[in-house]
């Protein structure tokens, strides 16, 4: 049995609303990601999936704060790491791409320079060298005319290209873990498909593990080997992707899957009603109190 690359243990997060009042955002979340594995976190808005990723990156800002648990990366607790050490990991070993590629890039700096920063920061390269490597990195994410594109500013690029720049930046130092927070939500479907394929292929080639966050079950299914379903700050179910789609155990997961209009599922005879999630879930407020359903509970073994 290999050690997990990322091992999140009972992570708790709060948003402080004043001197003593706290509102819990994560109520004890645990999951592991193996080296090279693509793990998906799926959930609706406010379920806590994005803050989980920010906690791993150490990018939580007030009023958000970790109130308990551990985040072990290669056995090292990131929460206890000195700032300087954490900086050395960030970008280098753990990289992240964000949802909005327009605002996530500095509008006043060329994309080439923004990629080059990675090489300067983590590999101690000179700017000249770094810019050359940046062009190479752009080529790697299949941006046509990379040397010309490197001199472009973000606004001169389409959304898809910008997201490729983000990917090039994130993968510049061949990190062990890539966190992708809804990286395709703002993109058109055809572009989304290309970006997803790119992430999948590049990570596979580098052996980079992926923590993929999305509200879209289809996207998750097309990229991840394992999926965790989050609801209201809790992980309610976790399973291998196929198993989860074919046999959801938790009532929330069942409701979610049933509520999804699926391509090709429309029958000959008129339109059928979709499953109303509220008709499946007996009581939303009790959802998170029910037991977390993990695969080992069902099969007694781990993948």
């Amino acid at each position: 049995m290999t050690t997990p690359l990322l091992d999140i243990r009972d992570l708790r997060l709060v948003v402080s609303l004043g001197r003593s009042a706290h509102h819990p955002l994560l109520k004890g979340v645990s999951f592991q990601i193996m080296p090279g594995e693509a793990y998906g976190l799926v959930g609706e808005s406010g379920s806590g999936k994005s803050v989980t990723s920010l906690a791993v990156m150490g990018l939580l800002k007030r009023p958000l704060a970790v109130s308990g648990g551990e985040i072990l990366f290669k056995g090292q607790n990131l929460l206890a790491l000195p700032k300087r050490e954490m900086r050395r990991l960030r970008g280098n070993r753990i990289a992240m791409i964000f949802q909005e590629p327009m605002t996530a890039l500095n509008p006043l700096s060329t994309v080439g320079r923004q990629i080059a920063e990675m090489f300067v920061l983590h590999q101690g390269k000179s700017w000249g060298e770094a810019e050359k490597l940046a062009v190479e990195a752009l080529g790697n994410v299949r941006v046509p005319n990379p040397d010309r594109r490197a001199k472009n500013y973000p606004h001169q690029m389409s959304g898809g290209l910008r997201q490729r720049v983000m990917i090039a930046m994130a993968l510049a130092c061949s990190p062990d873990l890539l966190i992708a927070d809804e990286p395709t939500t703002a993109l058109d479907v055809t572009v989304q498909a290309e970006v997803l394929r790119l992430i999948k292929e590049l990570c596979a080639a580098r052996g980079t593990a992926v923590l993929f966050i999305s509200h879209d079950l289809g996207v998750i299914a097309s990229i991840c080997q394992r999926v965790g379903v989050m609801y209201s700050g809790c992980l309610v179910e976790e399973n291998e992707t196929r198993a989860l789609f074919e046999g959801p155990r938790h009532e929330y997961t069942r409701g979610l899957l049933g509520a999804l209009p699926r391509l090709g599922s429309r029958s000959e005879h008129g339109r059928q009603r979709l499953v109303d999630i509220d008709s499946i879930i007996s009581d939303r407020s009790k959802l998170t109190e029910s037991r977390f359903i993990a695969p080992r509970d069902l099969e007694g073994s781990q993948p």
Partner: protein
């Protein structure tokens, strides 16, 4: 033969873009919609799909009178709805209404639900307080809200509830056509199903005609009777939902469908290609674009036409 409920004939919309020329006064025209034509029948749900910037929203806005067409006719029951001889806002309001995409931006934060629903009624000559109250109550019930919630303000509602209010507002004047602009794309997955169900129920109950704008093909497949695929201002393919989804012909349509991240397809990687048989051979004809490179939006597109390739199924080809 009676006129179709809604008839769009050779609709063009061009936007003047300032900023050209030395003084910024030079104008170019952005061709947003390039001569599209379609009809909407009573009780039908017609969807327009396409990616951002393809002109689908502009088309909808033209029908609603929010965007002046540059050319072409829009007729409602044979009467012009836009352009010369068009009726005033008041008449159009009773013919076409719209449900907006963003439930957070589509309700006036300073008006209670009751005000939002009562004001249009008053505007259209219904002044009796009891009648107004009655219709509001009935409408709220229709969309799954309680009459007690009428006094509340938008911020007191969840996203799904807001969308219900938006639907209620669109329906309060009892229009025959409802334009649905991405009606569920801003909603959480679990809420989507409820709103889709509600829309389908209301269509049946009130015998509404829907014109839906969407990029979400799974929703489109689920709800539509007919589908128009738009690409850079033109309809590239048109047909019944079955034709479009089971026998997509235009390369763009095929790309679009192939790109849908569908869990079933993803998990059964073998399934997808089988869905689409090889492209039908159309002798002497070729596609103007395969939808992989963007055409210049500042010039009118190359000449092409829609070719009938089967019952109720047409696809755009270059003029031979």
């Amino acid at each position: 033969m009676t006129a179709p409920l809604l008839q769009v004939d050779d609709l063009h919309v061009r936007f003047p873009i300032s900023g050209g020329g030395l003084l910024g006064t030079g104008r170019r025209a952005l061709h947003a919609v390039n001569g599209i034509s379609f009809e909407l029948a009573k009780g039908e749900c017609l969807s327009i799909v396409g990616e951002s910037g393809c002109g689908k929203s502009t088309t909808a806005l033209s029908i609603l009178g929010l965007q002046e067409p540059s050319e072409g006719m829009i007729r409602f029951r044979g009467q012009p709805l836009a352009g010369p001889g068009a009726p005033g806002r008041m008449d159009r309001a009773k013919a076409v209404q719209m449900v907006f995409q963003d439930p957070y931006a589509s309700l006036n934060p300073r008006q209670s639900v009751r005000t939002s629903l009562a004001a249009p009624l008053r505007l259209h000559g219904i002044t009796a307080a009891s009648e107004i109250e009655g219709r509001i109550e009935a409408m709220l019930k229709n969309v799954g809200l309680t009459p007690e919630q009428a006094g509340r303000y938008p911020h007191e509602f969840s996203g799904g509830q807001r969308q219900r209010i938006g639907i209620a507002r669109a329906l309060i004047l009892e229009p025959e056509i409802v334009v649905l602009d991405e009606p569920v794309s801003a909603l959480d997955v679990s809420i989507r199903a409820q709103i889709i169900n509600l829309l389908l129920d209301l269509q049946e109950k009130l015998s509404l005609s829907y014109l839906m704008i969407s990029h979400d093909l799974s929703v489109v497949e689920h709800m539509s009777d007919r589908v128009l695929v738009m690409y850079f201002g033109e309809i590239v393919e048109e047909g019944g939902w079955r034709e479009i989804f089971e026998a997509p012909t235009h390369p763009y349509t095929r790309r679009l469908i192939a790109a849908i991240p569908d869990p079933d397809a993803a998990l059964n990687s073998a399934a997808k290609p089988d869905l689409y048989p090889t492209m039908p051979q159309l002798v002497g004809r070729s596609f103007v674009s395969d939808g992989s490179t963007a055409p210049d939006v500042f010039t009118a597109p190359a000449r092409s036409e829609l070719i009938e390739i089967g019952g109720n199924h047409r696809v755009r080809m270059a003029v031979a």
